[in-house]
């Protein structure tokens, strides 16, 4: 999916930010907000998403000089967002690793998934269902699936995830496979 602003427009905003122009920062914020926010909501949940995006934008302002145009502006910003979300995820999952809590959580999810499920696993019935499937994926798998839907290439996903292009490709492959397994198993529990 094409981003609403071209990379050239974003580059002009970055140039302004580099010379400490706050109007350019405001424009970048507004332009990038919806794609960053939607990614953030799925990665860290609604409660933390707004803070995460603001934190990302503060980093953009403060470290604009480390951007050198080698990647697209949006790729660079997503890289920062991804790093910050990973940090939060590690904190969150440390809490969640309380086994009892996790077990209950998974049971609930399985139950939710079992309800209103289609018999054909290759067809994703509703938007709500896909949101639930995504929750079952690991942080890494969820991230790459979301990045693909944002229109990124394997090379760009590698930049965002700080891994080689081939690793990104393999990760997307495994993420899709995993997603299908989750769907199939949730279908079989209904039978």
């Amino acid at each position: 999916m094409a981003l609403t602003s071209s990379n050239d427009e974003l580059l002009a905003m970055m140039a302004g930010i580099c010379s400490e122009d706050r109007n350019s920062m405001d424009r970048l914020f507004t332009t990038m907000y919806s794609s960053l926010y939607r990614f953030a909501v799925r990665m860290v949940g609604e409660n933390e998403a707004e803070d995460l995006v603001n934190e990302t934008m503060l980093e953009v302002w403060m470290h604009s000089e480390s951007f050198n145009g080698e990647s697209k502006v949006s790729t660079w910003i997503f890289g920062i967002l991804r790093m910050l979300s990973l940090k939060r995820y590690q904190k969150q999952s440390a809490k969640k690793r309380d086994k009892k809590e996790l077990a209950v959580h998974e049971e609930e999810l399985a139950e939710e998934l079992a309800q209103g499920m289609q018999t054909d696993a290759d067809t994703l019935a509703t938007v709500e269902e896909i949101e639930q499937y995504l929750e079952y994926l690991s942080d890494e798998h969820k991230s790459v699936i979301l990045l693909v839907t944002q229109g990124y290439t394997y090379k760009e996903i590698g930049v965002i995830e700080k891994c080689p292009e081939n690793t990104a490709k393999t990760r997307v492959f495994h993420a899709r496979k995993k997603l299908k397994e989750i769907m199939k198993s949730s279908v079989s529990t209904t039978v």
Binding site: C18, V53, N54, G79, I80, M83, K91, I130, T149
Partner: protein, 246 residues
């Protein structure tokens, strides 16, 4: 005829289907995939799956204009606050003038520490460094940014309303910080301190101890750049007499 996709076999096409759907491939690859799709049932099924997956994810897009506008206001306030504070501490540490600002903030940990820096930020910077083959225009931009930092640091402006200040030189270092707050109302201050901590160090480990002899001790492990902000907010609380950083 040259091969557009390596090996021209099913596996390669199959792996590219997500990018076929998100339209990030060049035309030659798009056409090659279309050609392969005509004769490959497995890829056709995968394409259907991939399409419905990406469509479902993209369909769930509620309007975020209101959230964006609200957060832009918040963002600008956060940025102002951070820039103002760093501008003050930056001046007090580099110029060392006995100005009001440097006296008031003389207890702040105005030091730099390259060892044990935040791994997160180091990774972000490493990433920047790893791409150091400058394109001329952007390279010039980067040099321009550095020049701005040097000039404004030397000019030593302490105008707290100056949002153009050189925050870039704040070193993000995660450390343990202990703040002693002298107050006549420990209970109410510790409640407020909890909220303020949450704002600046949402993920950090922190404790607030109410001392028998009065006052509280706030301990937190987190980004040093946020400490001046924390001190500033604590000092603003009505029943706080002083805040010192150990």
């Amino acid at each position: 005829m040259t091969k557009i996709i390596e090996n021209d076999d099913h596996e390669d096409f199959f792996e590219l289907l997500p990018l076929y759907v998100n339209q990030s491939l060049d035309n030659a690859k798009m056409l090659a995939i279309e050609k392969h799709l005509k004769n490959c049932a497995e890829c056709q099924a995968e394409l259907a799956f991939e399409k419905s997956l990406q469509e479902s994810i993209n369909a769930n897009e509620t309007d975020v204009t209101e959230i964006s506008q609200r957060n832009l206001v918040k963002f600008n306030a956060q940025l102002d606050r951070r820039l103002t504070e760093v501008s003050r501490t930056e001046v007090s540490r580099t110029v060392e003038l006995p100005t009001e600002a440097s006296v008031a903030k003389s207890d702040l940990p105005a030091r730099r520490n390259h060892a044990g820096g935040s791994p997160l930020l180091e990774r972000i910077f490493d990433y920047g460094r790893s791409l150091l083959t400058y394109r001329p225009a952007i390279g010039a931009l980067a040099v321009g940014c550095c020049a701005v930092v040097v000039v404004s640091a030397l000019s030593g402006s302490i105008d707290s309303g100056d949002t153009q200040s050189p925050l870039r030189s704040c070193e993000h270092v995660v450390k343990h910080h202990e703040l002693r707050v002298v107050t006549t109302n420990s209970d109410s201050v510790s409640g407020s301190a909890k909220d303020i901590l949450q704002e600046y160090f949402p993920d950090a480990e922190s404790t607030i101890e109410v001392l028998d002899e009065g006052g509280i001790v706030v301990s937190v492990t987190g980004d040093t750049c946020m400490v001046p902000l924390l001190v500033n907010d604590l000092e603003k609380l009505s029943s706080v007499n002083s805040v010192t950083v150990n």
